[in-house]
Amino acid sequence: QQQVKQSPQSLIVQKGGISIINCAYENTAFDYFPWYQQFPGKGPALLIAIRPDVSEKKEGRFTISFNKSAKQFSLHIMDSQPGDSATYFCAASGVNRDDKIIFGKGTRLHILP
């Protein structure tokens, strides 16, 4: 029940295309859903996050879509660029200080130039 399932494991997209990464969770107590971006040799960096009171959040070319009833959320990268090539992790947590963040297993994204 604590798992966050992420798919696909790897994704190849043409430059200018839309990259879509999906995640699903089971624990209805989760109340905060961040996405992290990680470049090789670096630590994960917080990219964008959403809470379930909204169905969509957009920051530049990055959009989170959230479906509370289906317990699913996804990251969309519009106009994907080679610089977006990285590993992306979805995650879920409660909002209390002692709540742990549960991470998906990651998606390795490669944007073809």
């Binding site: 905060y32 961040p34 630590g43 917080l46 947590s93 742990k100 991470f103 297993k105």
Partner: protein
């Protein structure tokens, strides 16, 4: 990197030796975390700390111990390193952002146990 440094950045050690990794932060964050990252497993929590001398276990704590004698330093010790502990280790802190607590990660330590 939210003022987080990790040392060493790379280490190769032999099976059975003790190893200590250090996480240092400069912004007085109360909560600190140690994760390991392995292909196909994502990020898994090893131990965390919620204040000086206050620590607790995470999901994969067996074979690891931690200590926090100062707010700025959180140490992870492998008592007797094994090959299964070859991994990339990340330290993180959390800070409040509105109604949630966001986690920020350090640059990582790549540990190889031969």
């Amino acid at each position: 990197d939210a003022g987080i440094t990790q040392s060493p950045r790379h280490k190769v050690t032999e099976t059975g030796t003790p190893v200590t990794l250090r996480c240092h932060q400069t912004e007085n964050h109360r909560y600190m975390y140690w994760y390991r990252q392995d292909p196909g497993h994502g990020l898994r929590l090893i131990h965390y700390s919620y204040g000086v001398k206050d620590t607790d276990k995470g999901e994969v704590s067996d074979g690891y111990s931690v200590s926090r004698s100062k707010t700025e330093d959180f140490l992870l010790t492998l008592e007797s390193a094994t090959s299964s502990q070859t991994s990339v280790y990340f330290c993180a802190i959390s800070e409040v952002a509105g109604f949630v607590y966001e986690q920020y990660f350090g640059p990582g330590t790549r540990l190889t146990v031969t």
